[in-house]
């Protein structure tokens, strides 16, 4: 029976080609626009470190002066250098890292290459293990290197290629801001989306080109990037003990129990600092895991959400349009339906037949819409946005696209099909 309905549907759709094309194109545009924006939304709100995002926590303390204090208000978004160092040394979490963004001039020794600036991360040693950074060669450095401010560097695959023309560079040295650093590791292409561990330097930026121990970067006075918030004057805001927050501090805690214990530890730490006179405010600790942290900071650009709503509104109009067109199409065939009913077809089979026809329109619209979404994403990739090149269709989104098209067109077909199967055969036969 289903095959017969397909045949009938094909015939009917062919008979009124202009109308059919119109319906298919309308659905395709609605689906294409929706899937383009939904894909962008899906990519931008992805979990940057699946499987581990609930074990990594971003830590905030409240080291500010008492004035303007309101209980419960959000503390500074980053940490002071001193607190970060003390928490790092306390080592109460499974792993912990303190870091900041930076940039440094690289002076290649290969002739013909000009000095250039590269984005960098000044960080303590456990970053690589915590964030599952993939190594092409070598490894990160050790905690002992942190303590000794060792002159070591981990470089990205791109930087190694650019400076040395090869990625087999472990053991060689790289001239960074006039100082030779020994390369201990090469990181394979790594770009977590979003760039969750430091949103200050851009939430969807590319990965860093080099990593240097935090302590080393301070000894060499390497430039830092990101934001800094000071609540008092300071001759050197980057010095340890300066009243400025500019360091990110992440901890890894495997179980919720450990997380709860760590939170208590931070409360005690704040209370002790207050008793010692270093903090003025009561403990005001924040610990958010990766997804909470991203949601709290609203990393997905507002315009992307707005675009998604606009596209869904567009799809809705396209669907109402399709409902209207299908209705006119089915009612136009009242005569044919009347004959089929008179010959014994039940209402139910008329209903199914019409729904099959609606589904076919939807499927065609979906396939075309998929093509349009693909074109739309190419257009998005040419947009002037940091995240542009990330906009790609993946398998789940592909499946959702087709499902969206068919489900929405079958839904759109429900009302017309129901009206169609209500046609009374007697009147139709009489009027002919």
């Amino acid at each position: 029976m289903f095959g017969y309905y397909l045949l009938l549907a094909r015939r009917s759709l062919r008979r009124n080609l202009a109308l059919t094309v119109l319906m298919i194109v309308a659905i395709a545009f609605g689906v294409g626009a929706s899937m383009t924006t939904l894909t962008v939304l899906h990519v931008l709100s992805a979990d940057p470190i699946p499987g581990k995002s609930h074990q990594l926590y971003y830590v905030q303390l409240d080291p500010q002066k008492l004035e303007n204090y309101l209980p419960g208000r959000e503390p500074n978004s980053q940490m002071t250098r001193l607190d970060s160092r003390l928490l790092l040394q306390a080592g109460r979490a499974d792993r912990q890292v303190m870091m900041t963004g930076g940039s440094a001039a690289i002076e290649p020794e290969r002739s013909g290459l000009q000095p250039f600036f590269a984005d960098a991360r000044w960080t303590s040693s456990e970053l690589f293990a915590m964030f599952r950074v993939p190594f092409l060669a070598g490894t990160g450095w050790t905690a002992a290197d942190d303590d000794a401010a060792a002159r070591v560097v981990v470089v990205s695959r791109e930087l190694a290629d650019k400076v040395f023309g090869t990625t087999a560079v472990v053991g060689r040295s790289l001239r960074v801001e006039g100082t030779q650093l020994r390369i201990v590791g090469v990181v394979d292409t790594w770009r977590p989306v979003p760039h969750f561990f430091d949103l200050n330097v851009g939430a969807y930026r590319e990965g860093e080109q080099l990593y240097v121990p935090f302590t080393t970067s301070r000894e060499l006075k390497l430039g830092r990037n990101g934001s800094m918030d000071c609540w008092d004057e300071s001759p050197d805001p980057e010095a340890e003990g300066a009243p400025c927050t500019w360091v990110q501090f992440w901890v890894e805690l495997d179980t919720p129990a450990k997380a709860a214990a760590y939170r208590e530890f931070l409360d005690r730490y704040s209370e002790d600092a207050r008793r010692a006179g270093r903090f003025q405010r009561p403990p005001n600790v924040r610990m958010r895991d990766v997804m909470d942290y991203l949601a709290f900071n609203k990393v997905v650009p507002e315009d992307v959400r707005l675009q998604t709503w606009i596209a869904l509104g567009f799809l809705l109009v396209c669907l109402v349009n399709t409902v209207g067109l299908l209705l006119t199409k089915f009612l136009r065939r009242s005569g044919e339906i009347g004959v089929r009913r008179a010959l014994g077809a039940s209402r139910r089979s008329i209903f199914t037949q019409l729904l099959v026809e609606a589904g076919m329109v939807g499927l065609a619209g979906g396939v075309l819409g998929l093509g349009l979404a693909w074109l739309g994403l190419i257009a998005v990739r040419h947009q002037p946005a940091e995240y542009a090149e990330l906009a790609h269709l993946d398998l789940p989104m592909l499946a959702i696209t087709l499902a969206l098209a068919v489900v929405s067109s079958v839904l759109a077909g429900l009302l017309p099909a129901w009206r169609g199967c209500q046609i009374a055969p007697a009147i139709q036969l009489k009027s002919h």
């Binding site: 707005l306 349009n321 006119t328």
Partner: protein, 406 residues
């Protein structure tokens, strides 16, 4: 004219009529909001910067390692830049309007007076900064050479910055209607800075501190070097902008080739870059509006064609009874007008609702009432254009059809 017969016909085709009204309403709601959002974005892109945009170049540069002689190199750089034919003046600055990265500080009326404090963009530069940027001094005076303070000394709190120039927006927020000239404010250090001048405006590099504080900025008399300022601004005879633009990098390279030029752009490029997201959004919204209008028009055509076909006999009878072709066309036009009006009325309410919802969720301002008539007339026009084809086809039905049985 045939108001009553049209209504009774529509009542007999309730489902189709409701659908087309709904489609027009949704389109009206979305198009009204989209047009408004487009206007909002265009307005944002047109925000004045307060500087002489047609005449400015910005060069951002940095050195490798620490430079002991950064101060003298900076002086040499500026002298070399000024010597380029076509350059009117050149200065150091810590940031540029719409440039993205910013220095901000709070200004308050007392030493620890958080209640009165206003967050403002912190521009630093010398006596020549006002002329180089082309800022408009509306009260008081610019900086004098003896007020200048070295950045590093100020940072280490070895010297006190004596004076400050405010934008009109910052002055109004701090002093309301009072004359700000001569008043002390606290920005940097425990000693106050005295307001010596007010400039009309200078845009901030970004909107991090909120759009409502966008007109709040200050100038401080701080002598910068290329290592801590990072930026030179060059004011050029607009006729020779391209010529000078091609020469600046070589000029700086001649002074000291060891430095890296990070940014080099005209002010037009800075503005373009800053508002690129808004521009893309505006184009997208225009595209969505056009697509919506086309789809809705096609929907109207589809429905009207169906009704024309369905009513072929009735139309024939009317024609046979003496109705002119024009009467038939008018009938369909009137019918469409009634449907469009219903849709528009519903659409306006919907547009308002959508706007309220967007206001709650995103940074979208209230939809001004004058946008509703724009959407309404657009859809009336659209409906009339779309229905014309089917209506003319209906008018072409010969009266003789009434005598045939379909």
């Amino acid at each position: 004219m045939h108001f009553i017969p049209i209504l009774s016909t529509l009542r007999r085709h309730r489902t189709a009529a409701v659908l087309i009204v709904l489609e027009i309403a949704l389109t009206c709601a979305i198009v009204c909001n989209a047009i408004f959002l487009i206007g909002d974005r265009l307005h944002r892109m047109d925000q004045p910067s307060g500087v002489a945009e047609n005449e400015l170049l910005r060069i951002g540069l940095t050195g490798i390692g620490t430079k002991a002689d950064a101060g003298s190199l900076t002086a040499q750089d500026l002298a070399a830049l000024r010597a380029i034919p076509g350059v009117k003046s050149a200065a150091t600055i810590d940031m540029v309007p719409f440039g993205g990265s910013s220095w901000n500080s709070s200004i308050s009326l007392g030493p620890e007076d958080a209640a009165s404090s206003v967050n403002a963009g912190m521009y630093m530069g010398g006596p020549d900064l006002i002329d180089t940027l082309g800022l408009q001094l509306v009260a008081g005076r610019g900086f004098t050479a003896d007020e200048m303070v070295d950045f590093d000394a100020a940072q280490a709190q070895k010297v006190h910055i004596p004076s400050i120039i405010l934008t009109r927006g910052a002055a109004r927020r701090l002093f309301q209607d009072k004359n700000p000239i001569g008043q002390p404010v606290y920005v940097w250090g425990k000693q106050p800075q005295i307001v010596v001048g007010v400039i009309d405006q200078i845009a901030r590099p970004n909107e991090v501190n909120g759009p409502e504080l966008f007109d709040c900025a200050m100038l401080l008399p701080v002598r910068l070097t290329y290592t801590n300022a990072g930026n030179y601004v060059v004011r050029v005879d607009p006729a020779r902008l391209d010529e000078v633009n091609g020469e600046v990098e070589q000029t700086l390279d001649n002074v000291d080739p060891s430095r890296i030029i990070l940014e080099h752009e005209t002010f037009h490029q800075i503005r373009r870059e800053h508002f690129k997201g808004d521009r893309a959004m505006a184009y997208l919204l225009v595209g969505v509006c056009l697509a919506l209008l086309v789809i809705t028009a096609l929907g109207v055509v589809g429905l009207a064609s169906f009704w024309v076909q369905q009513r072929t006999r009735q139309i024939g009878i009317r024609r046979a009874l003496g109705a002119t072709k024009r009467d038939i066309v008018h009938y369909f036009q009137m019918e469409n007008f009634i449907l469009a009006t219903l849709g528009i009325v519903l659409g306006m309410a919907l547009a308002y609702g959508v706007n309220l919802w967007l206001m709650g969720k995103y940074h979208v301002p209230r939809l001004p009432a004058e946008f509703l008539p724009i959407g309404a007339s657009l859809l009336w026009l659209l409906g009339q254009v779309a229905v014309l084809g089917p209506a003319l086809r209906a008018a072409a039905i010969p009266p003789a059809i009434a005598t045939r049985s379909v």
